[in-house]
């Protein structure tokens, strides 16, 4: 028998890449100074890394058929604890560690409720979404924390080959996760959980442990995103990261990850993040009316799914 070549599985990413190029070229017709200039693009890419980092963890969670609405609120709570610890100790490493610890606890709480009480992740994270933001408001009492110093600001402002450390760590994570998802058993199990969780469970794979660690890791990632955001804006308060969850989920879904789990890639998500970023910049620089941003992103989201549905034959 003739062995058929393996089917090309990256069509969605190719389409996204073409769409991204079309947007950059099309938008460049109106604002060539920004869209066709690499230095300008790199300069403004700085605003993208928090959402980009969050979207990686969200991709993994959605791959398993879950969702995490609480990422923005975890960011707020960990940013506030960063500010409080810094005010008390004046030590950056200590505040960063405590920020990540708080974020880890938040994520672990999500994971525990999802795994051991078997509650629907949408409900769990909806509840913690309200709780974490509320606790951040209560703890900070409306205070603003700032004055973290130049060294800390450098985390998101110092460039190496045009991109900040946050950006490089994003690219590093994309590479690592792509290899892990395609070439390790851990990655294949994630897809399998998204397809049929009980089948994976019956195969003797520790689904509970994997899901728990996934939600915990997503918490840590939110803490990391909070540090990057605080470093970029120089201020921490209880409003940090509000509305991020929707943007992150939108990026993941535009990137081709099925909201029911079992299908999607990290590279698709990265392209989704870039697409949203370019759309946002186009609105900011050309239309100069912020109300168009949610409209365009919403249409992009629904439109991409409609097109995908029209082209695909599978029912899911």
């Amino acid at each position: 028998m003739i062995q058929r070549p393996r089917e090309f599985g990256w069509w969605h990413e190719v389409v996204l890449l073409l769409l991204l190029m079309a947007v950059v070229i099309g938008a460049g017709m109106f604002v060539p100074k920004f869209f066709w200039s690499l230095t300008q693009q790199l300069r403004l890419s700085r605003q993208m890394w928090e959402v980009a980092l969050l979207s990686l963890g969200m991709t993994l969670i959605i791959l398993t058929g879950g969702i995490d609405l609480s990422v923005g609120s975890i960011m707020a709570l960990s940013a506030v604890s960063f500010g409080i610890v810094f005010e008390a100790s004046e030590s950056l490493p200590m505040s960063a560690v405590s920020c990540l610890l708080v974020a880890l606890c938040c994520g672990a709480l999500n994971g525990a409720l999802v795994v051991w009480l078997k509650l629907h992740p949408l409900i769990v994270t909806l509840a913690t979404f309200a709780a974490f933001r509320g606790i951040a408001e209560g703890v900070s009492q409306g205070a603003h924390y700032s004055g973290f110093g130049e060294a800390f600001r450098g985390l998101s402002h110092d460039n190496y080959l045009g991109i900040s450390i946050a950006g490089w760590s994003f690219f590093g994570l994309v590479a690592v996760l792509t290899v892990m998802l395609t070439n390790t058993s851990w990655g294949r199990y994630l897809y399998a959980i998204g397809h049929n969780e009980s089948a994976v469970r019956f195969s003797g794979i520790p689904v509970d442990g994997m899901k728990f660690s996934l939600y915990s890791a997503n918490g840590v990632l939110s803490g990391l995103a909070a540090i990057v955001l605080v470093s970029r804006t120089g201020a921490a308060n209880a409003d940090v990261g509000s509305g991020f969850e929707l943007e992150v989920i939108t990026a993941v879904v535009i990137g081709g990850t099925s909201i029911f789990g079992g299908r999607g890639t990290v590279i698709g998500t990265a392209l989704g993040v870039l697409l949203i970023h370019q759309t946002r910049k186009f609105v900011d620089l050309y239309l100069q009316a912020a109300e168009w941003t949610p409209i365009l992103i919403g249409c992009l989201l629904i439109g991409s799914i409609l097109v995908y549905r029209a082209c695909s034959r599978d029912s899911k």
Binding site: L117, H120, I135, P294, I295, C299, I302, I305, L306, R309
Partner: protein, 337 residues
């Protein structure tokens, strides 16, 4: 009959409400003044109306997280249509138009979900942004004032001692309850929610029911806007921000299964009262300026407790094996594809 009620989830919700009211009235007996109780009911009428619609959506196994943005958009459209600073339509034409806007957008959502085969959470996530942006676009970012005096006073008018808004809410709740309990369409929502596949096999039309649920939610949102917004001095485009979370939380805390097919309207209504009661209660407990900042945290922790409590109770009840059609704890998952 009574023993079934005592075992039911609604009884637990009612017990929580009664105990909270008792504690607060011991601390401050002013809480029991009719003005305060009426205020709580008035505040809960808008979320209760929208929760009626959303309940149908959740029962059929879908979700709609765009109701908050829809609320803001419909409010803005109503402001433009009726305000004396803008188009100044007469109420008899304006009100039906406002109802139509909500109904049509709900219908559009339903079309996206059924015919477009877009998962409802994704479709409504997109609409959440689109409608919020449209509200800003329509109002040009400005606050709209000057709603006709007739509309403002109409919502304050009492009928047998209760404001009109409460009566409208009672009517919508009663209508939804009758529909779910006694009309064939109600049972069908439970059917497609508990097993999509089985419902299709016995010949139920899935798309028609889902389309109805989404359109009904849109209509309910318009009704909520009409009775709730005239209370406010002006209409802001960001009105209804976070409203979707409140309503979804109420539906879930009210005991409706997010997987579809299980839940009763009495639970949802009690949950709405419970959730809207929290803020006035915290004010009456006199927790001070510093405590005031903790309100959000207390609400959030309360939601977690409610969700976990609901879950533990369901598990406990399903062990004692009492199932009837609308309290069936078995959730069938998946379908052969």
């Amino acid at each position: 009959m009574i023993s079934t009620f005592v075992k039911s989830y609604e009884f637990v919700l009612l017990a929580v409400i009664v105990s909270i009211v008792t504690v607060v009235s011991v601390v401050d007996s002013d809480f029991l003044l009719p003005v305060n109780l009426l205020d709580i009911l008035t505040r809960s009428s808008a979320p209760a109306i929208v929760a009626c619609g959303l309940m149908l959506v959740v029962l059929s196994g879908e979700i709609d997280i765009s109701v908050g943005s829809l609320f803001g958009f419909v409010a803005t459209v109503m402001g433009i249509l009726l305000s004396t600073d803008h188009l100044e339509f007469p109420l008899l034409i304006g009100i039906p138009l406002v109802l139509m806007v909500g109904l049509l957008i709900g219908l559009g959502t339903g079309v996206l979900v059924t015919f477009g085969r877009v998962p409802s959470i994704v479709a409504t996530l997109g609409l959440l942004g689109v409608l919020r942006g449209m509200a800003l676009l329509v109002s040009d970012g400005k606050n709209i004032g000057g709603l006709p005096v007739g509309l403002q006073s109409a919502t304050k008018v009492g009928f047998v001692g209760l404001p009109l808004g409460i009566w409208v809410a009672v009517f919508v709740i009663a209508f939804t309850a009758v529909m779910l309990k006694w009309l064939p369409i109600g049972t069908r929502f439970y059917a497609i929610g508990s097993s999509n596949y089985a419902a299709r096999m016995v010949g139920l039309s899935e798309w028609r029911l889902k389309l109805f649920a989404f359109a009904y939610t849109g209509l309910c949102t318009s009704i909520a806007v009409i009775i709730d917004v005239p209370r406010l001095p002006r209409i802001e485009a960001k009105l209804g921000d976070g409203f979707e979370l409140l309503v979804v939380t109420c539906v879930v805390v009210g005991g409706v299964s997010i997987a579809g097919g299980r839940g009763r309207i009495s639970g949802v209504v009690l949950a709405v009262v419970l959730m809207t009661m929290l803020r006035p209660v915290l004010t009456f407990l006199d927790i001070g300026a510093e405590g005031e900042k903790w309100t959000g945290a207390i609400q959030g922790v309360f939601i977690i407790a409610a969700v976990v409590g609901d879950h533990l109770l369901t598990r406990f009840r399903s062990r004692s094996r009492q199932g009837n059609i609308d309290a069936n704890p078995t959730e069938l998952e998946g379908e052969p594809s």
